[in-house]
Amino acid sequence: MDEGTAYNNTLPKLLEEQYLKRGEAQVAMRVKDRGIWRSFTWKEYYEKVKFFCLGLVHLGLKRGDKVSILGENKPEWYWADLASLSAGATAVGIFTDCVPSEIKYYLQDSDSTFVIVHDQEQVDKILEIKEELPKIQKLIYWDHKGLWFYDDPIMMGFEEVIALGREYDQSHPGTYEDLVSQVQPEDIAVICYTSGTTGLPKGAMLSHGNIVAMTRSWLEVDGWQSGEQYLSFLPPAWVTEQALGVAGSLISGMEVNFPEDPETVQENIREVGPGVLFYGPRLWESVVSMIQAKITDTSPFRRFLYNSFLPLGYRRAKLLSSKETPGLWPRFLFALAHFFVFRALKDRVGLSNIRCAYTAGSAISPDILRYFQAIGVNIKQLYGGSEQGLVSIHRDGEIKWETSGPAMPGIEIKLSDEGEILIKGPNTFVGYYKKMDAYNNKMTDGWYHTEDFGHLDEDNHLVVIDRMEDLKELKGGRKFSPQFIEIRLRFSPYIKDALVIGSVEHDFVSSIINIDMENVGRWAEKRHIVYTTFTDLSQKPEVIQLIREELKKVNRSVPEHSRVKRFLNLHKEFDADESELTRTRKLRRVFVEDKYGDMIKAIYGDKTEYRIEESIKYRDGRTGRIENVIQVNRVEG
């Protein structure tokens, strides 16, 4: 591959190159539709992009315009993206679960003139807000189901636009090639909105050069091959899918596979058998719990096999992570384990052919990574973001569960005095759209301030702990990250949620635990522990001891000062209906700490019991009062 020439540095040119090189001979992408995998060659990919681009141009799209795209992972997303880029426009990805008011903000803030959406659901959202969006010229949709009788003149079908483009190409031959040659590496390719912990979301602008640089250094590490299968399931509005899916396939020629529906991914992944896969942490967690649930249900003999071979897997994973080459005997044992258990297990969850599996975000428990490495799935952790691009990644054979790996090629990482991670490199974004002040605030001498707290370990692996602002301070100024501990606690099958507490008034860290009723209940039944309700179960001395052991385990993996010294098992579950959790099951820390203020005082007091009287509201509107006694427990060591 000819690296780094200016000619290569825009995505439309990369597409043109692949088209000239592979044309009809090779498949570029595949989508399951109507129960059948339909493939598109590089020629078809190129032509869809070309004609859709010309269609947009015919409808009035100009260089520098913004095109918002709102849909699930489908070939049309990629085509719309590249078509916009070919015309010199910028693509703005919007998440499909956004509500109309959020979409309105993104469309207004980005000055979008075209919106390209998936289906009726998204069309309805746009039609609801279209009066307030005078800049929008066309609303283009690719799945016409349910839209047969819509007659808003702003709407147009995807194929209609392609047909327009085809005509336009006949009357204006060579236009597309001209447009592509005008696109420069410095042009803004995508705007990714960051959720932003404070204030409104900001649009991070990434140039073609940013994305190509990011993908090149990633490719340098993992060398995806043409013909290798990639399953596209990351939200395309996210910079990582832009780098791995869109640019990754354009540069390496790997084949992109789109699932039929978000609900069918588990089925589709088995059919594809991808070699390259990127799941968010939650999805990996759900794969593990799916396996665990199936193991519980399987025959005793199979369960026995699984339980006897899993430790072997763990042993091998440990050897590999410490850069040691396992000897002949462990290798033989692992081959046995693979043959009898892991091979079938991986096949069931579609991970048989995985060469590189990825996850990102500090929010994954190291135990999840360790588990996948144990069954022979090469899972790696990355660190990155819309602004900083991709920063670090695990290299094969040097995987440390607690870290996000060493820096990507070409990226510099340093730490500020407060422990904030600073980044410099060609990946780093060009600025926030229309908010350059915010950009300047975050850059000093070319170093980007990530607002993430972390450190580099002895092997120069990056360890990301938490957002700077989410760190808490204990008496005496020692900092700790509640979230860091909570994530590790949540990996325990017996703990569903945990709130880790500590502030400048306190000497030590403590925790409120929400036990996992199902698993703890099953555990109790096996030991003939009789219980009635959730409250009763949570306060059983045996259960308290069980949770204490889990806390001790987690305590071993965190710095001395941030170990949980006291805890109590909450008498009820954290509940979204009571605003204790968000709808996505994230703990609403401030609210919960406030609600249980007295309880927290009791934890730090010297009593061993806490009485809680609560008013409860029945469904029919009556209210009642219940008194519960909760044990305050200590953890030694």
């Binding site: 129960g35 189901k145 047969w148 069918t264």
Partner: protein, 258 residues
């Protein structure tokens, strides 16, 4: 509103079982562009109407005309061949087969090849199967059943089985669709989904629908016209809003005031 030419005529139908009169001189017409609801309290004879239309019951008196075919003396499988397809209140599916196979089974009346050709499965037979599969896949897409395509129907939750049943009825490419309480036993969300699917089917496939239902809310949401039965007698007919305000209908539903 133009409800199109009349496609189904029920004329003075009387059906009795021994001394019980299930239907007494019931008449109504269903238009080509109509979602037509048959409503009434329990035991009013709603399902009996559907059973007469598709030939499970034979009325003692009266006539049922579908286009220009007299259904009154036809056997159920012959009626199915005229293009009338239905769902059942208590779900009648092959529970051991997958969703896909259940839907393929309903294509049976359109399959022309014999058993031997099907067993050999090459050439035209294969082509035929591909054609039928494409039709079935369109329905799977329309009713959002991709995730349950290969799941045995017996393992599906109730709401989804109802959906599979609707799918099976549509796969037969009917020219008249009879739905027997498609929303019975569903929660609000499932009802909303089902209502949307029924309207989608009606709009896209342009199939007239006769719907038996006792939930007035559902009827006012999706039907254009309704007939109300009480103890086998037709007591009202008109738009759902009209019949909902009819005093006789309110009396039948809520009981008589002393």
């Amino acid at each position: 509103m133009d409800n199109g030419t009349s496609i189904l005529k029920v004329e003075d139908v009387t059906l009795s079982f021994g001394g019980i009169t299930a239907l007494n001189n019931v008449s109504f017409e269903v238009g080509q562009k109509e979602v037509f609801a048959v409503i009434g309290p329990n035991g009013a004879g709603k399902t009996s109407v559907l059973n007469c239309i598709n030939g499970f019951y034979r009325p003692q008196k009266g006539r049922l005309m579908f286009r220009d075919i007299d259904l009154t003396r036809l056997r159920p499988h012959k009626i199915a061949e005229t293009g009338i397809s239905r769902t059942f209140q208590n779900i009648e599916l092959y529970t051991g087969l997958s969703t896909l196979d259940n839907l393929m089974a309903s294509r049976h009346i359109h399959m022309k090849r014999g058993a031997l050709a099907a067993a050999l499965h090459f050439g035209p037979t294969r082509k035929e199967e591909i054609k039928h599969r494409a039709i079935v896949e369109d329905v799977i897409d329309l009713l959002e059943m991709t995730a349950i395509r290969h799941k045995p129907v017996g393992l599906l939750p109730y709401g989804l089985r109802k959906r599979v049943e609707l799918g099976r009825a549509i796969c037969a490419e009917p020219s008249l669709l009879l739905l027997d309480e498609p929303m019975a036993g569903m929660n609000v969300e499932e009802k909303e989904d089902m209502a949307r699917f029924i309207l989608d089917v009606f709009e896209l496939k342009e199939i007239p629908i006769v719907l038996v239902e006792h939930d007035m809310q559902v009827v006012t949401d999706i039907a254009m016209k309704a007939v109300v039965l009480d103890f086998g007698n037709k007591i009202a007919e008109g738009s759902p809003m009209e019949v909902a305000q009819d005093t006789r209908v309110i009396r039948a539903y809520l009981g008589e005031e002393d």
